[in-house]
Symmetry: C2
Subunit: 371 residues, 2 copies
């Protein structure tokens, strides 16, 4: 077995849990937020900086790495860890989500997905087997099954067929996965916003006995309440002794929602993407640095924050960097935002330990505001 999950504690006031996930490249404390390093780099950051922030695991994107530089080059480099100089755990997605996002440029069949590269229009094909082959070559600690993430909204009939195919693909992924000793393959529960389909998907995947499970197809545009409802229904269908991963979630409110419902892992490009647009996450909510009111503001983003950026730079200076398009601007906000989310998850883990997560959440919202 490539990974080992130890459940340390279950909250007495909600479904939140504390755990330790052991991987071939180190241990992860859960619940955890995972920064995204799409193309073998967490945008603007060195791996050392990412590690110094306290990040314990990062993501890589199979679709992007397949197109450039290609999994063969990464394999020749000694795998993704060595290629990008990150010696901690890595999770790779399956490429499914990106491929399905291509819209008109992709065609789904039982065999897999034919698509045209968003870069040069070249014809490509990813099947469950191909996704496993790519992820095996990348050498990530945690791999994801190739699935279809159904759009929202979608009809019961569409989602049912899609979910059933995802389940057949999950079986093919298990069969194609060549490196079970060093790489753990997670199943992905689909079923859209339909509880009966979620139930079938979870049942069939749990039967396949994956070392971990993701809840897919959420945070795709549905109302927040509906996401919570689906989590409330789906998470209890998953085995307690396996890690649970909610894909594509990275705003503080969604992270609270997820953890309180028993999710152990989450990832999102949000903190790094909004950083590059000049938006900082602070304890009193989001801050848009280009706003004129910060022109002569010689205080840090967040007086409560002890990150490198808040200890050394003022809003006025960072606003200047964005005004003149200097790379240091996005760099500094990326550091701050990742620190913010990593620290938030540390606090969440501490609150679970102390059985006061709900109180901590309410305190947090009092200042941050409710989005």
């Amino acid at each position: 077995m490539a990974i080992k999950f130890e459940l340390l504690k279950e909250s007495t006031e909600c479904k939140a849990r504390l755990g330790i996930l052991e991987t071939p490249h180190g241990k992860i404390e859960t619940p955890i937020f995972m920064p995204v390093g799409t193309r073998a780099t967490v945008k603007t950051m060195t791996p050392d900086e990412v590690k110094d922030l306290g990040a314990q695991i990062i993501l890589g994107n199979t679709y992007h790495l397949h197109l450039r530089p290609g999994e063969d080059l990464v394999e020749k480099a000694g795998g993704l860890h060595k290629f990008m100089n990150w010696d901690g755990p890595i999770l790779t997605d399956s490429g499914g989500f990106q491929v399905f996002s291509l819209g008109d440029r992709r065609k789904i069949t039982e065999e897999g997905v034919e698509f045209r590269s968003h870069i040069d229009g070249a014809k490509k094909f990813i099947s469950p087997e191909k996704s496993m082959e790519i992820q095996n070559k990348l050498g990530s600690d945690i791999m994801m099954c190739f699935d279809e993430c159904a759009p929202y909204p979608a009809s019961h009939d569409y989602v049912r067929k899609s979910m059933e195919m995802t389940t057949r693909w999950a079986k093919r992924c298990i069969d194609a996965h060549k490196n079970t000793d060093n790489q753990a393959l997670f199943g992905i529960v689909q079923g859209g916003m339909y509880k009966d389909l979620r139930e079938i998907s979870a049942r069939d995947l749990v039967e396949m006995d994956f070392p971990g499970y993701a809840v897919g197809g959420l945070s795709v545009g549905e109302p927040r309440e509906l996401m919570c409802e689906m989590l409330d229904f789906t998470v209890p269908l998953l085995p307690k002794d396996k890690p649970r991963y909610l894909m594509g979630v990275g705003s503080p409110d969604y992270l609270f929602d997820a953890v309180i419902r028993g999710i152990d892992m989450a990832d999102c490009v949000l903190p790094t993407r909004i950083a590059r647009n000049g938006t900082a996450m602070t304890s009193s909510g989001k801050l848009v640095i280009k706003n004129a009111k910060f022109k002569e503001d010689f205080t840090p983003f967040d007086e409560e924050c002890d990150c490198y950026v808040c200890r050394n730079y003022t809003k006025a200076y960072i606003r200047h960097l964005f005004n003149v398009n200097e790379i240091l601007g996005p760099r500094l906000i990326t550091i701050h935002n990742l620190h913010f989310l990593i620290k938030l998850m540390e606090n969440i883990r501490e609150a679970i330990k102390n059985d006061n997560l709900l109180e901590y959440r309410d305190e947090f919202y009092k200042k941050y505001g409710y989005e």
Copy 2:
């Protein structure tokens, strides 16, 4: 006096010198290469990274900082050092070079230069007095006189008139400079490629007793031999006990040329600019990372280099970063190139100490090639 220059040694084999320049923000070992932080940031780098590389002084550009964010904002922030979080010495240029580079968009009179901003076309005016006012507000350790850098080639008549005006402006700069206790003002010798004019310029400026002197108007497109000839002629006209600064020089060969002729300080955007285009400076010459031959090259830029980049990253990885336009690419080459030049200057200082600079230069060229 804002600065103190101590001449430690003169080479026995050429005009190279070793010195210590004390400024209000720390000591500088000369000869020194100064990285350029045009708009209150050395492009892509944090000040801590710049310092960790061994940089002892950086440049700021008066023209750029005047336009954005404006010297008044920087003054309110507590000066340029505090604004940008760099507590070491800073040298600011006068804005002259940038203003004259605007071509059709500027008009020179005895009073100063009227120009249109390259950003929004707004009408602006910089005179010797205005340049001093801006630099006083920025609070740099070393300020430069507002001068005209004559183009190359230019007629004797044009250069003579320009040089004479520069001399009159130098006097006005001295009169307008309001903070002589904390900021040292350097004079700039002009005279183009005409020795008689260089002689007059140097004589008149030396009479004004500046705490340091720049040789301006070189490295502006003239043949390298001509630059060397002008340095051979001009440098001996300057007082031995004052630092000598060659503006706009940053390639290894030009640095050797300058130091051997008695120059103590140099600056250039070259290492940071070519980094952003994917060109690394190595002990065996320049390396263009996008070159296809590096696709599967899993070795560092330079086997001899002990910088952070060469210790951790391969050419194949950095080539990938450039291929997918990731910011980490320019970041890594910037670190490497600045390290290369800072290390080169360290080696040059060591060679002067050991009286074997010419031998070191010849050894260097054997591998680097002669550009």
